[in-house]
Amino acid sequence: MTKAEKTLGSVANYVDERTGAAAWMKKNLTKVFPDHWSFMLGEVCLYSFVILLLSGTFLTFWFDPSQREVTYEGTYAPLQGLKMSAAYASTLHISFEVRGGLLMRQIHHWAAIIFMAAIVGHLLRVFFTGAFRKPREFNWILGVGLLTLGIVEGFLGYSLPDDLLSGTGIRIAEAIIQALPVVGSYLAFFAFGGAFPGESFIPRIFTVHVLLLPGAFLALITIHLMLVWYQKHTQFPGPGRTEKNVVGYPLMPTYMAKAGGFFFIVFGVIAFLSAVASINPIWLYGPYTPGQISAGSQPDWYMGWLDGLVRMAPPLETHAFGHTISWNILIPGLIVPGILFTGMALYPFIESWFTGDKREHHLLDRPRNAPNRTALGVMSLTFMMVSLINGGNDIIATHFSMTINQIMWGTRIGIFVLPPLAFIITKRLCLSLQRADRDLVLHGTETGRLLRLAHGEFVEVHAPISAEKAWTLTSHEQLPALELSETDSRGVRRPGGIKNKLRLRLSKAHAVAVPKVSADDLKEIEHH
């Protein structure tokens, strides 16, 4: 033992005697994680969150969350002498006078853009591979919660500088609050401390943005990760991988090194973007005044689909009992997102209800092997994309020589037509891919080698695939659809007839599959 080892050993011993950490560390540092690129999307979320915390803390050192009116006397000439809020003036100060301030602002904003993009990427991975199934339903709900919080947190963040664009966003948020029937106007007064804009929304948003929501994020992310730790990570099917084991690399040293390195790569990519590409140049927008607006005012992308839905809504209003109900804001601004997010949060329970599958799953589905779920996911994505496109309709109109009216009508029709179409096409594609898998297992890969038979026929020689690959392609299970008789064992009709019918139909749709290759199929082909 060298001297250094001796010293380290005695330090470790000192700590262990007082904390009992050795046993825990021994168990957990050797914890095994499976390897796949898509498992790293969640890591991108975590690392960009850390970057958000650090860069955000830096910004709070100079940001003045107040709507006190000041006269700008900073270095940016085109705004000198203008009256503005202290919040906007201090953001200008961070951008132009604080050393590294503009870079930090851009890091904070780009990190937010990437944080939200990575959350959506991670969510798609989890959905399309069926990783949300038992026992991970709670973690799925936590994830949906984090996504929702992220949207709110991001929105509050770009509302803080009090520039023309952020004020416009706040104004729309106020309109959505007001659209709530009966209580809307009171809630809006409550939130803004009086009539819009008032003088309290920046300080209030600030507290929620830097204290309440980051705290909630930290707590939820911790539980999210603890559950991953406790439930172990899912893995893709393959030889030697079962529902009872995890095949991969140990946390120490492989994953420590990989994850640590990946953090710096995430930081590097965000810092690179922030160094070369401008984001939210607030000095160009000017200070917020309710009387002003810029053409092409959009929210950040993760709110863009909501904006798009509001933009495509036809003008509908009802006046009843002295109240106005603005359906054109209520439906796209609150009801549709409410249905979407509730449906998303409950999907694990809905799926296990109609498949009747209550078992634990640690092996992931390949998306093609769950055609109905994959099609449902692509359908939802198409819905989001159509509304997102309408959210940028004015920018698309000017840059692609189209008219806003064309885009609006295109998306109004597309929002109903395209998602079902995407569902049908995706489901067909999945089944075709299953068929291709079946062919591959039965006939092997094409070698490109042509063989001329004695009687003149040309055939292409197929090489059989490896046993490992064949196993991977055939290991998934194909559950039959549920069978529920309409009557119970005594011939009495079951209650909840429509519910059962729906369950059966969903189950049947979910079970559609190209039969995978069985041992009998292979035996038969050997006889040829």
Binding site: P78, L273, A277, S278, I279, G286, Q292, P299
Partner: protein, 263 residues
């Protein structure tokens, strides 16, 4: 008379008469030509109006009518003023290439001289806003950037975007970008209200305020991209696109690479 008639046949009579006649013609001519020299612009203007009229008859009358009285597809030009013509023709919007939505900015068809001839002709039909003199357009001296920015955000940004990059209007119409537009043309657009643009009369926005707006636009044009690539100065749409494609794209690329190396 007798004395005069006595010398009628005198040898010197014919040459003398000739001299007198020459003198008279010379004096008349010099008096007449002196009058023309005294007001040369009237002459040139009437020449320009004539030239403008010829150009108009050839290039514009098929839509605007032989007397600029307008028609089914084009408005009357009586009373639109020289400023309007200078803007529409000087920025290449007229003659119009595509009648579907609105006149597009393109390379001018007429040169400066022809444009002013056309403007003179149209201005001669009825009084209207005149082309601002260069001395009026000294925005560097008379404008205030910060005030101009405030006026721009109050009056212009809702169509032309916060940075003057232009924006979409309904039915394919649009507010064009203001980058690279001559100060004279901005001023003319303000006082004549071309296409979908409203007229900003001197009562709404004073001439000094107009110069401030021009000064702000020119400052925005020269404004360096302080935060890096500008992404078109059109707001979050391009930012989101870049974040997804370059940001998350790069990170997914790295993730794939890391997962591959481990095998």
């Amino acid at each position: 008379m007798k004395r005069l008639s006595r010398y009628r046949r005198h040898k010197a009579a014919a040459p003398l008469l000739l001299v007198i006649a020459l003198l008279a013609i010379g004096t008349t001519f010099s008096v007449a030509s002196a009058t023309v020299k005294q007001s040369p612009t009237t002459f040139a203007r009437s020449a320009a109006i004539d030239e403008g009229k010829q150009l108009f008859l050839k290039g514009c009358s098929s839509c605007h009518g032989l007397n600029a009285e307008g028609g089914a597809i084009a408005p009357s030009l009586i009373g639109v003023g020289a400023a309007s013509v200078d803007f529409q023709v000087g920025t290449g919007r007229m003659p119009m290439a595509d009648m579907s939505t609105q006149a597009m900015r393109k390379a001018p068809v007429y040169n400066a001289e022809q444009t002013s001839a056309l403007a003179a002709y149209v201005a001669s039909l009825a009084p209207g806003p005149a082309i601002p003199e260069d001395s009026v357009l000294n925005y560097e001296r008379d404008g205030n950037t910060a005030e101009g920015g405030e006026l721009f955000r109050n009056n212009c940004a809702m169509c032309h975007n916060f940075a003057g990059q232009g924006g979409a209007l309904t039915q394919g119409k649009y507010a064009p970008t203001l980058m690279g537009v001559e100060p004279k043309h901005i001023y003319e657009a303000l006082i004549t209200g071309p296409q979908s643009m409203p007229v900003f009369s001197d009562k709404t926005i004073t001439p000094a305020e107009k110069l401030s707006i021009i000064k702000w636009i020119k400052a925005a044009e020269k404004e360096p991209n302080l935060g890096g690539a500008s992404l078109g100065r059109v707001g979050p749409v391009t930012e989101g696109l870049l974040g997804w494609i370059l940001g998350l794209g790069l990170l997914i690329g790295v993730a794939v690479w890391l997962a591959t190396k481990a095998r």
